[in-house]
């Protein structure tokens, strides 16, 4: 369904793109299609209605229709309005200064509260907080056991109390946090159908008893049209601060959950996608808008693509270094990596004793750049096989780079020395990489062996000496 929907939307847009000029009828057709697409994505009917009305109005603007690329403008407006719908800015979890901070989770049955509680605890733990989980769901059989098991897996203390009175458990939980020096308390409440008056009163009572700093509502991404009623009821009774969307790893588009922002004005703070405790991510409205429109989450995609590409390059490079088969491309790559990490100065100063060396003026920042200029004047073949460099080639390179031939000679000499040095300390590095295999080697990747990986300060100094003189 996801694919067909995404195709459909792309179909709408490409249909528009095929036209040089757009008429009002074209826009009307497109809006009808978009309306249907959004409804299939479970966006609330009323939200869709006002969304389509707004978008249509903007699209029918004379400037859009008469522009050179009307279709693109329409796509942009839709994306724009959708982002608006989801919230302009990212909404992060901000803890107040009170200790212990209390975060209360509410939501329907089966929405994933208990799992979300554990994930949130894990996340807070990563951020150097000491969370405490409090199990206030005394109704579902074994709910507290579930929380205790999850807490045990992530190494977070769980307070269960007597398993009878949720309000008392919550209050005691906060006291337990104080006694055990925990700075964040996460209260997992019983799931409810919002029509359940008794349960709602209990949530209010817990709220009144522990005065939570944050109340987060957990919403299943697969929920349909009814979700806005549920959210409105929760907003009225317990006035939550934000939403955690769960089960985002399925193919649900989460349209229902996304309508919450429009209906209640409460932002989505996290999306939860998976069974593992580390699968709670911050929510980015703009990226989600693209996902709904089937445009793909380009930013995330690019981010990961870049990461992968880098890993590939590094792996290749590391392997070449392992064989001590360095070429001049590696030199450039090393230089770039150093620059990415903030330049050689930052790199050196981050190493033990580095600051001293910097102060003593032993480090020449420009040396690497200078080298790169010379290498850039070489042909591909020359970079890969430096032994090709004869007298006439060196003269050509010197002219191209605007340096003298001795400078090119010096570079080649430095390169050969580095290569020799690599050969010397690579066996040691190989051993080290072998030791790490258990963890990294499984994925077929080797630990990066370039700078600053396997080098000690002495090695770096040596390299630096060779380069800077």
């Amino acid at each position: 369904m996801l694919e067909s929907l995404s195709n459909r939307l792309q179909g709408i847009f490409s249909g528009l793109r095929g036209k040089g000029r757009l008429t009002e009828d074209d826009i009307n057709d497109a809006m009808r299609e978009i309306r249907m697409a959004l409804l299939e994505a479970d966006v609330n009917f009323k939200v869709v209605k006002s969304f389509v009305a707004r978008t249509k109005e903007r699209c029918l603007d004379a400037e859009v229709l008469d522009s050179l690329t009307p279709a693109q403008n329409v796509v942009k407006i839709v994306l724009d309005e959708l982002t608006e719908l989801l919230g302009r800015t990212d909404s992060k979890l901000v803890l107040s200064s009170r200790i212990p901070n209390v975060i209360m989770l509410v939501g329907l049955q089966g929405s994933g509260k208990t799992t979300a509680a554990a994930k949130l605890a894990w996340r807070l733990k990563q951020e150097n907080h000491a969370p405490l989980l409090v199990a206030c769901d005394v109704y579902r059989p074994a709910a507290a056991d579930q929380l205790e098991t999850l807490g045990g897996e992530i190494g977070v203390r769980v307070y269960r109390g007597d398993g009878q009175d949720p309000v008392r458990i919550a209050t005691e939980g906060v006291q337990d946090a104080i006694d055990n020096l925990r700075d964040v308390v996460i209260v997992d409440t019983a799931g409810r159908l919002h029509v359940d008056e008794a349960m709602m009163e209990e949530a209010e009572a817990i709220k009144a008893a522990v005065k939570p700093d944050q109340i987060l509502m957990v919403v299943d991404a697969m929920t349909g049209q009814d979700v806005v009623n549920v959210a409105a009821a929760f907003a009225e009774r317990v006035d939550f601060d934000g939403v955690i969307m769960s089960k985002m790893d399925g193919d649900a588009r989460g349209g229902g959950a996304l309508s919450i922002k429009e209906v209640t004005g409460k932002p989505i703070k996290f999306i939860s996608s998976g069974e593992k405790p580390d699968s709670l991510e911050e929510f980015h409205p703009d990226r989600m808008a693209k996902r709904i429109l089937g445009m793909g989450d380009m930013v995330s995609l690019i981010e990961s693509a870049v990461k992968v590409q880098q890993e590939e390059i590094e792996q290749e490079q590391a392997e070449r270094m392992m064989r001590a088969n360095l070429n001049l491309n590696d030199f450039i790559e090393m230089n770039r990596q150093i620059r990415k990490m903030g330049g050689i100065a930052k790199l050196v100063s981050a190493l033990p004793g580095g600051d001293k060396a910097m102060a003593a003026g032993q480090v020449d920042e420009g040396a690497l750049d200078h080298m790169e200029v010379i290498i850039n004047s070489m042909t591909k073949a020359e970079r890969e096989r430096p032994e090709l460099l004869n007298g006439s080639r060196r003269a050509r390179i010197a002219a191209g780079a605007g340096v003298t031939v001795p400078e090119v000679n010096q570079l080649v000499k430095k390169f050969n020395e580095t290569k020799k040095m690599m050969k010397r300390f690579m066996p040691a590095a190989e051993e080290m990489a072998g030791g790490k295999r258990g963890k990294k080697g499984k994925k077929g990747r080797r630990r990066r062996m370039g700078l600053p990986g396997g080098m000690s300060m002495a090695d770096l100094r040596k390299l630096q000496d060779m380069m800077g003189e």
């Binding site: 299939e40 299943d220 399925g250």
Partner: protein, 306 residues
């Protein structure tokens, strides 16, 4: 208490809301104007039956209204009632109330599989049949304890293994025990999983495969779906059906404000009968399903209209 009353009771809330909306429609007068059709479409969409299906139903009714020269909105709503009821697939009597059988409950996380198994165990035991439960949800924390708690409430036996063990082996044990005891009905709870998770779906295929191979009784697979689920429910049902060849659907959590329109879509598109509906948290809150009653309870019946 008649069948209709029992369902009505559970669906009262859903029905009230639906009727409320229908009344708003009807207050516009019985004329079949644009406003009426738009309103009808909106009401249907809000019940989660899906934009496409709602559109189709409204267009169909519109045609019929013109052809048959239907006088007013009431006549159209009558037709609607029948149409909804007809759209549900029929059959499935042999799954839970037929002869001895093994039934596996599958679905995504949090739809109420374990709870449904617990309630069914009670209902079937009350009918005098011998029931054995199998807890093949060895993944979720405390799923086994939850099922054990349910089993204790209805006084039936449950076969378990420690958490993290192979679900297929639990099923095997369950079947062996069932044969030894001569159990009538074996209900197996499986771990919830998203239909998009290829690995977990394969695991489930294996579990069901083992059961089908080992069992001497007929084996059925039943999808448990949450009434609050939106259009994604269709995608869930499709995937589970493709992997396991489902025999029926159980809709849970119909006691909320959600109307469970997705059940209609699933039942219609995949030809799966709705076997039971869950209308509450009590031990007795699993009701029989009847398409006409469901439709009537959803739309509201005639007498109460005026």
């Amino acid at each position: 208490m008649g069948l209709f009353d029992r369902i009505s009771e559970g669906l009262a809330r859903s029905r009230d809301r639906f009727k409320e909306q229908m009344n708003v429609l009807l207050d516009r007068g019985p004329d079949l104007d644009e406003g009426f059709w738009d309103g009808l479409e909106e009401t249907l969409i809000l019940s989660d039956i899906g934009g496409g299906a709602a559109c189709e139903i409204v267009e169909g009714l519109r045609d019929t209204a013109v052809r048959k020269a239907l006088p007013d909105a009431y006549a159209v709503l009558d037709l609607l009632n029948d149409r909804i009821a007809e759209t549900f697939a029929t059959g499935g009597e042999g799954v839970l109330s037929g002869g001895p059988a093994v039934v596996l409950f599958v679905g995504i996380n949090g739809t109420g599989k374990t709870t449904t198994v617990g309630k069914l165990a009670k209902e079937v035991t009350d009918e005098g049949r011998t029931v054995l439960l199998g807890s093949a949800d060895t993944f979720r924390a405390a799923a086994i304890e939850q099922l054990e708690a349910w089993a204790a409430r209805s006084g039936v036996e449950v076969v378990t293994r420690e958490r993290g063990s192979d679900p297929a082996s639990v099923c095997y044990d369950t079947l062996e025990r069932a044969e030894a005891q001569g159990a009538d009905l074996v209900l197996i709870d499986t771990a919830g999983r998203l239909h998009t998770s290829a690995d977990l779906m394969r695991e489930l295929e294996k579990v069901v495969g083992v059961v089908r191979k080992r069992s001497k009784l007929p084996v059925f697979t039943v999808l448990v779906i949450d009434a609050t689920t939106g259009q994604n429910g269709l995608s869930q049902a499709r995937e589970f059906d493709r992997a396991l060849d489902l025999d029926g659907v159980i809709v849970t959590k119909l006691d909320g404000t959600a109307k469970g329109g997705i059940a209609l879509a699933v039942s219609h598109e995949l030809g799966l009968p709705v076997l039971k509906i869950g209308v509450g948290e009590g031990l007795d809150d699993l009701k029989d399903f009847d398409a006409h009653d469901f439709a009537r309870a959803l739309v509201g019946d005639f007498d109460e209209r005026g």
